[in-house]
């Protein structure tokens, strides 16, 4: 596996860590942030950050993977 793909996969784990495995830790109302119960705030935060995480993964794959492995069409 190429280095870029490995790093990208690490980034790809972030949504799963924050939006699945962290849920037991954030299942509460307080502190209320921006008027939202904490759990809802947490979910919105990470759902909103997912495109940024994926964009970073995209850039990293581009930077570290040899161009040959990029799609050829």
């Amino acid at each position: 596996m190429q280095k870029g793909t490995k790093l990208a996969l690490l980034l790809g784990a972030i949504p799963f860590l924050t939006l699945v495995f962290a849920l037991p830790l954030v299942n509460r109302i307080k502190p209320v942030i921006l008027g939202l119960p904490f759990i809802l705030f947490w979910i919105l935060l990470w759902v909103a950050l997912t495109p940024l995480v994926l964009f970073a993964a995209y850039k990293i794959e581009k930077r570290f993977n040899s161009p040959e492995d990029e799609d050829r069409r």
Binding site: L9, P24, G35, V47, L54
Partner: protein, 483 residues
């Protein structure tokens, strides 16, 4: 003739005309019809995928869950983000194999990767059995929305019948291009409707989101954290459901197949990055469900919370607009379901089992000929036997999710074998049926479909290793140098 009625009928007719027009002047072969000749660019792929993924369940179900179940509805906000993250890694590889071997459908992929026709037919049959109830659900949802939004002027059965047949017509003529074009209308209307209602309702009744939540936190704090108002949907259920639905998302045959319609692997990858933005409308839909809980407590059918609140808050023409948006929201996924249901039946069941030497032209004609029977079957169930397929619908998501190990291992693990995948898939499906129909969903607080998926993965891996020999079929993309 009232304004709402005009808006609803006008939108349905206009959408169908656009759908019919989409395929005009196109020489239709099977590749053109099912995957648009693999020529869709970034914007249209986004519109198409958003169109097929966000269905009447999103519209009615997400607000309904917020209303009647509370916090467990957050999962609807999350699972898309997980699915898009997975798709970022999986779909581009899938697209490359599809391009290289001229694949159109999910069973095509299984047949090519595992060189096993039984597996292909099995995947096709499970796919069709999941498609028909899902299609029925879209039609039933459409009927419900149109009936309420037109203030009973259009009875639900009439709406279902007309829309079903019109959808059938544009699928027949235009194939997936029809769905993509109609999806543009759908997205514009749905986002407009959801933005107006989602931002407007909390403002009208509470003066904003923050104040609405202050009231909710004061009155019903337990509604806002897991397990909400449910006895069984606690954090563990949410986590397992998220993993299941995140992995199962692109395993729906129609969603899987439409990935082949992209112009390049890069387009698919970039699309995965921007797809999560479509979660914003879902958030607004949840807000409406929460608002309804305070404004209209005690509704019998929670799924009607969204429409009931619109009815209470806005003039009837706007309810008509929401109804029209809801109707197109059902028509787009319905059309893609019909399209892939027909192709699966003709190409992956009929051709593979009865007529392996059939020309592509013949398969094309046959796929088109299947459009009417597939729609008719769903219409029949929607109109006459609405309860008959409830069981199939219950296990639809659990069922298609069982394809996940076969797809991912097929793409990324050299040692997986067809015997392994068949054993895993059959184990997963059997467990789903046994647990769900045996009344054990959730089991120990965990989504039964997820339990089945874990068993499926274990069996697939173990049997693959035991059955040894490396698999024939596709060469992995990394090993191929030529373009």
């Amino acid at each position: 003739m009232n304004a709402a009625l005009l808006i609803i009928l006008g939108t349905i007719i206009f959408s169908v005309c656009v759908g019919l027009f989409a395929g005009r002047g196109m020489k239709m072969n099977l590749e053109n019809w099912t995957v648009a000749g693999r020529r869709f660019g970034g914007l249209i792929i986004w519109v198409l995928m958003a169109g097929e993924i966000y269905t009447t369940f999103t519209f009615l179900g997400a607000s309904g869950w917020a209303y009647s179940k509370g916090a467990p509805t957050y999962y609807i906000l999350i699972y898309g983000a997980l699915a898009y993250t997975l798709s970022f890694f999986i779909l581009p590889e899938l697209w490359k194999i599809g391009k290289r071997h001229n694949l159109y459908t999910q069973p095509d992929f299984f047949i090519k990767t595992y060189d096993n026709r039984f597996l292909g037919v099995l995947v096709a049959v499970v796919g069709i059995l999941s498609i028909i109830p899902y299609l029925q659900l879209q039609l039933t949802g459409l009927g419900l929305i149109v009936e309420v939004a037109s203030n009973q002027a259009i009875p639900s059965k009439l709406a279902i019948g007309i829309s079903g047949l019109l959808t059938c017509a544009f699928v027949y003529t235009s194939g997936i291009r029809g769905s993509a074009w109609v999806s543009i209308i759908k997205n514009v209307m749905m986002i407009a409707a959801v933005a107006v209602v989602g931002i407007g309702v909390p403002r009208v009744y509470f003066g904003g989101f923050g104040k609405m939540f202050r009231t909710l936190i004061a009155q019903k704090p337990e509604h806002l954290v897991f397990p909400g108002a449910t006895p069984s949907m606690d954090t563990l259920w949410v986590m397992s459901t998220l993993l299941l639905t995140g992995m199962g998302f692109y395993m729906w045959p129609h969603v899987f197949g439409s990935a082949f319609s992209a112009k390049s692997a890069k387009i698919i990858k970039r699309n995965a990055i921007i797809m999560p933005f479509y979660q914003i409308p879902i958030l607004l839909i949840l807000m409406v469900g929460f608002a309804a809980l305070l404004v209209l407590p005690g509704l019998k059918n929670g799924d009607l919370a969204f429409l009931a609140l619109v009815q209470k808050t806005y003039p009837s023409w706007f309810l008509g607009f929401v109804g029209a948006a809801g109707a197109v929201t059902a028509i787009v996924p319905a059309s893609i379901l019909v399209l892939f249901g027909s192709t699966l039946l003709a190409k992956n069941v009929y051709q593979v089992v009865f007529d392996p030497s059939a020309s592509e032209d013949r398969v094309m004609r046959l796929s088109r000929a299947m459009v009417l029977p597939i729609t008719a079957a769903a219409l029949l169930f929607a109109l006459l036997l609405p309860r008959a397929l409830v069981n199939l619908l219950l296990i639809g998501y659990d069922g298609v999710s069982q394809f996940f190990p076969g797809v991912v291992l097929g793409l990324f693990w050299k040692r997986v074998t067809s015997v392994g995948v068949i054993s895993g898939l059959l184990t997963g499906l059997a467990l789903v049926v046994a647990l769900v129909f045996g009344g054990h969903d959730p089991i120990f607080g965990i989504n039964a479909g997820f339990v089945a998926l874990v068993a499926n993965v274990i069996i697939t891996v173990v049997v693959s290793i035991l059955s040894g020999a490396s698999r024939p079929g596709v060469r992995r993309p990394q090993e191929t140098k030529s373009s």
